[in-house]
Symmetry: D2
Subunit: 333 residues, 4 copies
């Protein structure tokens, strides 16, 4: 950690600050130029409260030299982490197609969608049982029953399943779930992350709508610091001023996360864009950016002519997306 | 709810959509112009999945005519809600000064700060016991012991206390806490909100870093829909591209929230700006914008000359802020 | 245009508003439901000041039914526009690789880079002569001399050239330039756009850092409304809270712009990301999203070992990018 | 300027970089800790291309020690700048009320509004003659005729006038205008800024919708570096994700700009909020935050009952705002 001090700082102030830092068992290396004074902090700087240091009147700015994340850091773990669930692998050159309906509705629905996406090459089945909703009056999902139906679909098709948890008190229900998803709104629900860190389940951690990539990595660190090494990062769009897509898909996150961390990175173009016509090009683009997987919504409702235009792809559209994505994967090898 | 359809929509598609809506016990009123087709939805439109409707290919856009929030809505509850804790009142013309240290550290510290802020006119004591931190390796607060110390300070000074909850499992510890704070990162932790809605405790609900005012009101609705009418809204800055302040304090939120809702609105300039020099002008500005209270950090550490520049005001600085804020309050009557 | 009125609006207010609209030769179609009142505006609604209408107290919101852009609109011009410069074509299935140095520095430099990027398959040479800089004290480019050197490089290699204009008063210098670039900061310099609309030169119009896609299209409309149909849209990243890349490349802009407009869309991953390691994956992703071209920075400075890490690719790196991008293009056919 | 190098940098790379910097006549001071290597750049670092330096592979980050702005910098000019136009003064304890219609429409209108705002205590008359509009088909203002009418109103009332310039070619028309406004969209139209820097006219420089405060100061530096010291900074809202106000008024900008610069700072709550009900509280808040002036829209159209709800205040509403703002000013002394 480096603290750049303000130009008008006095000797006495430097001394006081240096002493305060040393009292926390961190050594200080002073460097003075004509226009600047820098304190280099040496040792276990994790003890130093960076925000406090930054807010001191004599401190111009504080710069971390080493990243604040450890176990997720590629520097300390150069080889890619590969997550294995059933016959599917994610990361380290393995690409996973994750597909399924937004919400689990009926046994018939989830089994039919599972069969169809499997036929098109999907590796993992997704489906919402617990649904975080902005409004308390909106449908909140089938909850435990939804998980039971997903497990039925798994039994029939052999596809591993991923579904979202909203509260640690429902963890028991997730015993046979292959991958537990933490949604964007819970990315900094630190208590939930710590509890999930005590399991060995693969966790799919979605980036919050207004969270930086460093914060995403720190949330992954919360899980890993409790002993669970099976974390999958997921880019799903951030909140910006643009209104023509639901959120702004930040695909540059893929190479950045790969550079900083060994964890696999998947992309969810369905929630990011919110419109079915945008899902295929952005799924292709995610693959071209080097993602380790994509997660898309697929519905199956032949009776409902209306639904063809919704955020979810039809099975036929998904089949085409899967084909193109595989071709793009080959093109960038 | 109004659905504006795309220009090239066919009669058959309109019929299908109308039928689908009517199947959900909502009536439809069709209005066609030369350039547009509009469906007016009449009845309990809460049943309609707005996102699904919006994502249909034939739908240009969906417009809510009435706000999605009910119990927080000023239209249904015109008079201001007034929250009473001890001798303090917030809302409906009552202004509350909330002050105290960022974190509770020692009994001596919290009692001394409580005494000093009370002497300057503070109505409520704040102090962090459970601290949400981006890093799992950072100090997470004194937790239960911190609450115990706050209660000591309350006993000595008579000031009611407000402190943050992070997990519903620690609710028992908050039995004697006067106001339970929900932090920005938990604003959409819907399970936590619902559980707090089952208590009768006043809840201070902070706006999330990237949450709209409508989302803030919907989160308040989560609490109220469970029966707890004691909600205080808190603006504490949003995330933007500007880096010279920690966040961007959105003071326009104050008159907007007052227009839409009967709930009191307080402003936290300390966390929003992150720099002590910015706290006094923004505290004054919050009062001038019509806030029902301000919440500021005050520390008391005479031995630590360094801390004078931090995010927290000294007691002397707080005294001056309190005086100015009272004068601004009078000026806008 | 549709105006949704507030619930408590009176008959008299509706009448006044209707009259005001009709006075502007626009007809009004009233539609009343239980919970809403809607005015449908029929005719040349371009005369109506939307912002004024929106800000009226009795108006809840205003909704455009038809897009405000005309000549750029795909509905009025379904087939793709193809821009031809020399032997290069952009749009309608034609993909253009645009490459060259950030700034033109010397004749030797620009000719050498031009030769190398041509050998790797570049279709168009880019290079900055007029450089918009945040600081008045920074290097502002070789200006007219820079354009002369670009024309030398064009003579030697046959590559058409694109370079940025900052002020209409320097237009004469651009007589032999093939494509005139309007930079992000000038995207809403409407006087400049109108003057460029009076030429027949292809204009490469970059999206502003905080401009919506609709605003980008309206700025293209400024050029087209003066008679110049040769506009190329360019996505180059928007400003968000994320700091790990210089800007956030919004690749979803590509399919959205293609849906709304017939104009070609190119992507600039160099300026968007600001880091050389991020350029290849984002160039690939841009191609996979369906872009009609990419524009990347390539430098040639064998003596400067340092520069290999800068925002600009080396010629060898560009060769690899060009090869991958061609493969991705084939993969998505 | 300080460059923090990456941890794995070699001695040879440090040497190369040091040599490259020294070749630009800037001295280098090397500082090595266990975990970091820092180069302190000493001398005229304005010659160093910061973006290039930042993008080098071996450079972790670059930190400016001294601000990049000079003439606007309070450090080099501690006393407040006071701008005098006619009998009005802005800055250094002088507060200016700037009021008038959005657009100049007729002689009768502008004179009537001028009279009324003067009666309520306005110091300066505002009114748009050249109107930047997103759409080429929207009303673009009365242009030269609008300025003529403003000058008539000035003759009648004695109020100095401020109006916006969009193109340097119309500068002659502004000869008798007291303050020339540069709009948000032209904040980084550097050629325009430089030309205005060659005049001695006071310039009211509005912050761009997505521009940082540092960029605003750098644009002011463009004007001052050409010799014009009469610059007024104007906060008018930034673009964020929130949609309930037109933009997000960033009032924290006021104390930040005052800390960094000696230039006066005014606030425009009308354009920032876009709704008349939000203007009074935000005008009060701007005054409480320490602004040197506020600029609000006032219309005068007794025949048009509709307009009462628009972004513009009525003269009676302005009278009330003016009264409250004066009281707030006194409260914070």
């Amino acid at each position: 950690m480096i603290a750049v001090l303000k130009q008008n700082v006095t000797e006495r102030q430097i001394e006081q600050l240096t002493q305060w830092i040393k009292n926390q068992n961190v050594d200080v290396h002073l460097s003075k130029g004509k226009d600047y004074t820098i304190l280099g902090l040496i040792g276990d700087t994790g003890r130093i409260d960076r925000e406090l240091l930054e807010s001191l009147e004599i401190v111009e700015s504080v710069k971390l030299v080493s990243e604040p994340f450890k176990q997720v850091n590629r520097k300390l773990h150069p080889e890619d982490t590969i997550i294995t669930v059933g016959s599917a692998k994610i990361g380290g050159g393995h690409f996973a197609l994750i597909a399924g309906p937004c919400s689990v509705e009926t046994e018939e629905q989830i089994i039919e969608v599972a069969r169809q996406v499997k036929a098109s090459g999907a590796d993992i089945l997704r489906g919402g049982a617990f649904k975080p909703r902005t409004s308390p009056y909106a449908f909140q999902g089938l909850k435990g029953e939804g998980i039971r139906l997903l497990l039925e679909a798994k039994k029939v098709t052999g596809l591993p399943i991923v579904t979202e948890i909203m509260n640690i008190r429902s963890l028991d229900l997730f015993e046979d779930v292959d991958i537990i998803q933490v949604g964007a709104r819970n990315m900094q629900n630190f208590d939930l992350l710590q509890e999930l860190g005590k399991t060995k389940k693969p966790i799919l951690l979605k980036r919050g709508l207004a969270n930086t990539l460093q914060e995403l990595l720190m949330s992954a660190e919360y899980i890993m610091s409790e002993g669970n090494e099976n974390v999958i990062l997921c880019e799903r769009g951030i909140r910006t001023f643009e209104t023509m897509s639901r959120n702004t898909l930040d695909l540059t996150a893929v190479p950045i996360l790969h550079e900083l961390s060994h964890l696999p990175v998947v992309v969810d173009p369905s929630h990011a864009t919110g419109r079915v016509g945008l899902v295929p090009p952005m799924a292709q683009a995610a693959a071209a950016a080097g993602a380790d997987g994509i997660m898309v919504e697929v519905h199956n409702n032949p009776a409902c002519a209306l639904c063809d235009g919704a955020q979810s792809l039809t099975p036929a559209q998904f089949d085409e997306v899967a084909r193109k994505v595989r071709r793009v994967r080959e093109a960038i090898l």
